[in-house]
């Protein structure tokens, strides 16, 4: 064995270094081996958004565990991490029992891939739950495709509400909040001084939706393979946003990050007079900065007055251990009593008609504003979710949006590039 007999010290070292290099490289290239906690039949695993871990839901989940003698494994993630983990889980077949859906349409995308269940039969067998009759139609239809419903609405919100600091606007001579884009710019200019910005744009691309919706721009029309059309109106919307940062300097350039709470933090620190967001920012502002005289009003009017629909739902993975048990927890989490408790705790708005009709909601000034915004949410293209390309196309738009808002890229060319790439992705 001449080859073996020549294994001198140098050969050993070479072999060792080679194996080490391959091993180190392999560590990065080896496929992920996802680990999920739902293998034990007495453990019930839930994936949830970290920002929505309200006490109202904790109580329901704890009680559910007691009633069924289950160990409740409530895992909380930021949205991108939840998506990654879920994708890995679907790949491995080791899935949780219940998942909070990122947004309307995500469930449809997973459902068409046969990774989550259509819930119509479970809902039909449980008429006491009131689905879909007691739910606002827009929240339901955004989760349906070809007659099947892939998730149950948990929250229903509108992005584009105007948050403003009443004291700052008053000091600048404004008794009323702005209602149009022109007024918004005027107030933003007047309130920008020293270390305070008139407004603050978000680095998250989804926060641009109210702006382009207000120019009657549709994000996607999958059947026509078109994006951000009409093009001229989309350009007006994005140019307006870019000008707020670079021309009028009434908003700091946002920082690229996965955290969408930057504008809320600036507002809470009294370093921004206004910003556009949704009901999820009411709780942090009221709790963190109770001294701010918070004003909340309906979305602005560009060519039209409009908001974008937001809010997640609940979906059951196709390989969940016991879908009926998962459904039971859905009915508890999306019950009107739980919705009312979560609203009281966090200011979150909900999709049930009976929730909206409850006196505690109907008489709440903030909820009244949200209800008006919900009435003007722009229609969503369910075809994009069904195409299975929504995440890929959103990533392309995220790149274009950040190039425009953070890197000051020319709007028209950047949007044209996005349209071309999005069309190719379809």
């Amino acid at each position: 064995m001449p080859a073996l007999s020549s294994l001198d010290r140098r050969s050993f070292l070479r072999l060792g270094l080679g194996v080490t290099v391959l091993g180190a490289v392999g560590t990065g290239c080896a496929p992920a081996t996802p680990k999920s906690g739902s293998t034990d039949s007495r453990t019930f695993t839930i994936y949830w958004n970290a920002g929505h871990a309200y006490k109202a839901y904790q109580q329901v989940i704890d009680q559910f565990g007691k009633d069924h003698d289950l160990v409740m494994n409530w895992q909380k993630f930021q949205w991108p991490d939840l998506t990654t983990k879920l994708t890995a889980d679907f790949r491995s077949g080791n899935v949780p029992d219940l998942v909070e859906e990122v947004s309307a349409g995500t469930g449809t995308q997973y459902g068409l891939d046969r990774n989550v269940l259509a819930l119509d039969d479970l809902a039909k067998a449980d008429p006491g739950f009131g689905f879909p009759d007691d739910f606002i139609t827009a929240a339901v239809s955004a989760r349906q495709y070809e007659g099947k419903t892939y998730s149950i609405p948990l929250h229903l919100t509108a992005n584009g509400l105007l948050f403003y600091n009443k004291g700052m606007l008053s000091a600048a001579g404004f008794d009323q909040p702005p209602a149009t884009w022109e007024e918004f710019l005027e107030v933003a200019k007047a309130t920008t001084k020293d270390k305070v910005s008139g407004t603050s744009l978000n680095s998250d691309f989804s926060y641009s939706a109210p702006f382009y919706n207000q120019q009657n721009v549709a994000f996607s029309n999958v059947s026509a393979k078109q994006f951000l059309e009409p093009a001229a109106a989309a350009r007006v919307a994005l140019q307006y946003m870019q000008d707020l940062v670079f021309t009028h300097k009434v908003s700091p350039a946002p920082v690229a990050t996965t955290d969408y709470s930057g504008p809320q933090k600036l507002f809470s620190a009294q370093r921004a007079a206004m910003f556009l967001s949704g009901p999820w920012d009411i709780g942090p502002i009221r709790q963190g900065s109770p001294d701010i005289d918070l004003g909340l009003t309906v979305p602005l009017t560009g060519t039209t007055q409009s908001a974008s629909m937001a809010g997640g739902g609940l979906m059951i993975p196709a390989k969940a251990k016991d879908p009926k048990l998962s459904w039971e927890l859905i009915t508890r989490l999306a019950a009107v009593q739980t919705e009312l408790a979560a609203s009281k705790e966090a200011g979150m708005s909900m999709p049930r008609k009976s929730w909206a009709a409850d006196p505690s909601v109907a008489s709440d000034p903030a909820m009244g504003v949200i209800a008006k915004a919900l009435a003007i949410v722009a229609k969503q293209d369910v075809g994009l979710s069904a195409s299975g390309k929504a995440a890929q196309i959103n990533e392309l738009y995220k790149k274009a949006y950040q190039q425009i808002i953070i890197q000051h890229a020319p709007v028209e060319a950047t949007l044209a590039d996005f349209r071309k790439q999005a069309g190719a992705a379809l």
Binding site: M1, A24, G26, G28, P31, T84, A269, Q392, Q407
Partner: protein
């Protein structure tokens, strides 16, 4: 002990490592290679299509080029900083043990913590650094927006400088003092001693630092993902981040596997080139 027995003994001692690497590294790599030959659903065999597609994919090419830039910047600056610190802390200065320990702390800290820490320091609006600058009447920085990749390089160098320093310290302490004494007697100044004795005798350490550094920088994912999310635009979307997006965003595991195999090949080739250069440098001295 005859040669046959010697070889058998060698294989006996090698076998645990061989089994470990075969099961945990080579088989998964083989699996990746195989997956890369199939389409997104892993059903249809597409041959080398995924590999050729990568070469014409502008997003992949962009991510590869900025990864090379990131790796080069990190290696050059990181090696220089680590060597500089090692030379300084190899001197008999008071408190050197404390300095060595403090400098090593970032390397021992999780990359997630480091990412979050620096994000909170550098955020132009709510970050600590700009608040400090403001206290001294200085203008605020916007590095995460204006120089995102250089900022990520800086954070990487900061976090790995202690580790590089320790490696160079070990190398420095292996150089016999006799050489320096002889050079001094011959009238060589500090710079001459550094360039003619220290640097050449540190070649194996430099080689190790650069190979391990190259491998880790070409695979870098977590730091830019946490600090900038790959943005703004795609300015910090390194190759591993692109690979991640293809797998978990586009749900195209065939293409993602091909990208990971290409990364493996690039790292191997670059490592072999470095080894060759190192061998030559070693022979020259």
């Amino acid at each position: 002990m005859n040669r046959r027995r010697q070889a058998a003994t060698a294989w006996l001692f090698l076998s645990p490592a061989v089994i470990f690497f075969v099961l945990l590294f080579f088989l998964p790599i083989g699996n990746q290679l195989l997956t890369g030959l199939y389409d997104a659903d892993g059903v249809n065999f597409v041959g080398l299509d995924n590999f050729t597609r990568a070469l014409g994919d502008p997003e992949v090419v962009h991510s590869f080029l900025i990864t090379l830039g990131y790796a080069a910047g990190t290696l050059v600056v990181g090696t220089a900083v680590g060597l500089g610190l090692a030379v300084i802390l190899n001197q008999a200065i008071p408190g050197r043990t404390l300095f060595r320990s403090v400098l090593l702390i970032p390397y021992l800290t999780s990359v997630s913590i480091i990412g979050l820490l620096w994000r909170n320091i550098l955020d132009p609006q709510v970050g600590i650094l700009n608040r400090l600058l403001d206290q001294f009447g200085l203008p605020g920085q916007t590095w995460l927006s204006t120089h995102p990749l250089a900022t990520i390089v800086g954070i990487t160098v900061w976090s790995s400088a202690g580790y590089t320093m320790v490696l160079f310290l070990a190398g420095l302490q292996g150089i016999p003092g006799l050489y320096y004494e002889a050079a001094r007697i011959d009238g060589a100044g500090p710079w001459r001693r550094f360039f003619s004795i220290t640097l050449p005798l540190l070649t194996p350490t430099t080689l190790f630092v650069s190979i391990i550094g190259l491998i880790s920088t070409l695979q870098q994912f977590a730091l830019p993902y946490i600090v900038t999310g790959g943005g703004p635009g795609n300015a910090t979307s390194l190759y591993a981040h692109r690979l991640f997006l293809v797998a978990f965003n586009d749900n195209d595991f065939g293409y993602a596997s091909a990208l990971s195999v290409l990364l493996l090949l690039v790292v191997l080739v670059l490592s072999l080139v470095q080894l060759k250069i190192g061998d030559r440098a070693d022979a020259a001295h």
